[in-house]
Symmetry: C2
Subunit: 442 residues, 2 copies
């Protein structure tokens, strides 16, 4: 245990040193590193696929001869096409504009005293992700582009694949002159426990995985965390909804990928349209294999045979083909329901009524607030951010789907000519000018 | 105790409800509220000054007849001039542009499917501040402008003043139609303890005060905190420094207000200029009443009678007329010292050498990185942010001096025409356009 702690402290310490090198590296150098990432993945294709085959075999044999559940196997499996996608993804990240050194504020405080706010890397980022080994490559690409050192912990089912991918990327780092400490791989739970305690060397943790994983990490560290514990998203069908749209949106939000955090868990329907809308909704959901749990009011429209929805249902992220249904008296009741049960992830209203949308948009407290669109659009790729490192439901920056922008922070850079504060106090005090300057870029 | 918890839960619950009202309020309404804040302060001037006189009398008598330390008394005391300043400050905040509803991203995802990122309030903010009662008014003004509900805890020495100020502002809220729950005042330590546990109702805590206060709050809650525990700032005098500037900057950084978090605690001097610079520096600091603690190398230049600086000194925020002094071999050693002992607040280099500045600027990991200027400029007012709600040394937004911008976050707002994600997958998938739109404002 003490040995593990010591080893992880060495790794995170090396990551901290590497972060300083990355922080002063040029865009050209980081882009060269990204092209080397793509090149070694391509060159070591055979080794990577062999390692992946070993993971698949181990998983199948652990499953006692029975083949793994298809979804898990699909997530775990790498093949030539997936590797090509990963390589294309790295090339796309390489082609993105430099996220660092962008000026987001420039003010002349006084003659010769210029304040600038410049984007800069966060530093050392720890990412704990589940089975998909492709995530390792995607995250490593975003981190190098944004000048951050990484400590990665992948799923144990993908142990051989992760080692092969990590070895390929590490050799690319070395070949392009970056310290290999910029990309560390850890593997055991004990190492994760040590990572959570490495407060001096780790600036941000990104847990990607189950609620249980995120919660465990939230409670085990004082390092800031980018993540979300739950996705309890709602679709509210207003009295002024286009009901044909409402049906499509409700079904897509629930069924298009029920395990995702941006899938809807509860549908709220205004009483004025419940008679026309609920029976068709329930039969469409039933046809898609969805179990509907309805409150008393909804059962009056949908059929008394439906299981009664309890408060516990409204508070649950089913992550499966189960949905709660409630008939509300008005927009106020819908807003109150969302405020009570929502997890601040993504909330949608279906309405043609501008005033209802205005209220919903201002009052709903969530990272995503949608009108006439499926909650499933809440995603970095669909938002146009390229790859996504995680999704955040906290109030502070970054929130929502987090792309490369979430991997940069900023610093205030002040340049003077010997300016001292004493000159700005007392009876003969100089006055600040606070003149905004045109931004150089960004 | 259970009663206290119950009462604070009621207050924070009311703040949560008030936050929803504030989130949908118009700029005109919030500005009307700010003018009412200014008006009632002016109208209730007599009551406020009487309450403040009672606090001063209580403090003097608690000090056993001896008048309070001048600095503390100055911070506690309100007078007509200070009230006028507070009123002018509220009027200035009222005149600021609306920080809410600003578009910071706009992308057409597809025909009829528009994504926007709009600034919005954080929600319920708890602020724990020390003796200055003026802080109550300044924070209340920024919070109302930015649509946030507040729970305030002031210093117990200012109990009567805080009550009088709070009563005045609360009556202004009522008079302009805002829920009085938007501005709650709590007073006891037990209430603070209950506030730290009110995770469902409080989105952000801002402790303003001593390191001990900030640390205690960091360890007592899982609510996100905006703050900083320490300000260990450095001034590094490079071999290419203008030594006249260096002397002014070093003295200002240390002596202009030594109790402030942005005062310098350690001066680092390049060996190449130590012989010419250190003796004059030490005598100037001595003349200003500063105790200098020097490392062995510095004592060789400054005199062996100086107390030897230990690592403990380098790790201490003196907050007083004490400074540590070290002679370093080169920029690398200066950067390593800052990385080891700095608190990521503000770091300054004095140099005429562009390459040294470039390295210092990229490699120093701090919210403020200055060239040829005093660390004391790290301040919301001096940066041109107007009032300051706090200062943050964390890596995530907001960091540095935090003005009204730190009291807003953003949400992603998506408007469609019945769009569903299923249409974007499978063989006949629609393609996303991801076309950037001109921003409406901001």
């Amino acid at each position: 245990m003490a040995e593990t702690t010591e080893r992880v402290l060495q790794q995170t310490g090396a990551a901290r040193s590497a972060a300083a090198v990355l922080a002063r590296s040029s865009q050209a150098d980081r882009d060269r590193g990204l092209r080397a990432y793509a090149g070694t993945l391509s060159a070591q294709r055979r080794e990577i696929l062999a390692a992946n085959a070993a993971d698949l075999a181990a998983a199948d044999s652990a499953a006692g001869g029975a083949p793994l559940a298809t979804a898990l196997r699909q997530r775990l499996k790498l093949d030539a096409a997936k590797l090509d996608e990963l390589i294309a993804g790295l090339e796309a990240v390489q082609a993105m504009p430099d996220p660092l050194g962008r000026e987001t504020l420039a003010t002349q405080l006084d003659d010769g005293l210029i304040l600038r706010r410049l984007t800069c890397p966060i530093g050392v980022v720890g990412v704990i992700f589940e089975s998909r080994p492709d995530a390792l490559v995607q995250i490593a690409g975003l981190a190098l582009k944004s000048g951050n050192a990484l400590v990665l912990k992948g799923g144990s089912e993908a142990e051989f694949s992760n080692r092969a991918l990590h070895a390929a990327l590490a050799s690319a780092l070395t070949a392009t002159g970056f310290p290999v400490g910029a990309l560390a791989l850890i593997e055991t739970r004990a190492e994760v426990a040590a990572l959570l305690q490495a407060t001096a060397h780790v600036d941000l943790l990104i847990p990607r995985g189950s609620n249980a994983l995120v919660r465990a990490i939230q409670h085990g560290t004082t390092i800031p965390i980018l993540g979300h514990a739950e996705g309890i998203c709602h679709v509210y069908v207003d009295q002024a909804a286009n009901l044909e749209q409402a049906l499509r949106i409700a079904c897509d939000s629930k069924t298009q990928y029920p395990a995702a955090c941006n899938a809807a868990e509860t549908l709220l329907v205004h009483r004025a349209v419940a008679g026309r809308f609920v029976p068709g909704l329930v039969s469409a959901l039933g046809a898609a294999g969805v179990e509907v749990r309805a409150d008393q009011a909804a059962r009056a429209f949908a059929g008394e045979e439906l299981r009664l929805a309890s408060d516990a249902d409204f508070a649950t992220e089913h992550g499966d083909l189960v949905v709660s249904l409630r008939v509300v008296e008005d927009l106020d009741q819908a807003l109150a329901h969302i405020a009570r049960f929502g997890s601040r992830h993504t909330e949608a209203i279906v309405t043609e009524h501008a005033a209802a949308w205005e209220r919903f948009r201002s009052e709903v407290d969530a990272a995503g607030v949608f009108r006439n669109a499926s909650t499933r659009f809440a995603d970095g790729y669909r938002y146009g951010f390229g790859a996504e490192v995680g999704i955040a439901t906290g109030k502070l920056h970054p929130r929502g789907p987090v792309g490369i922008e979430g991997l940069v922070t900023y610093k205030y850079v002040l340049e003077g000519e010997g300016h001292v504060v004493a000159d700005y106090s007392g009876p003969a005090a100089r006055r600040f000018q606070h003149r905004s300057l045109p931004l150089q870029d960004g």
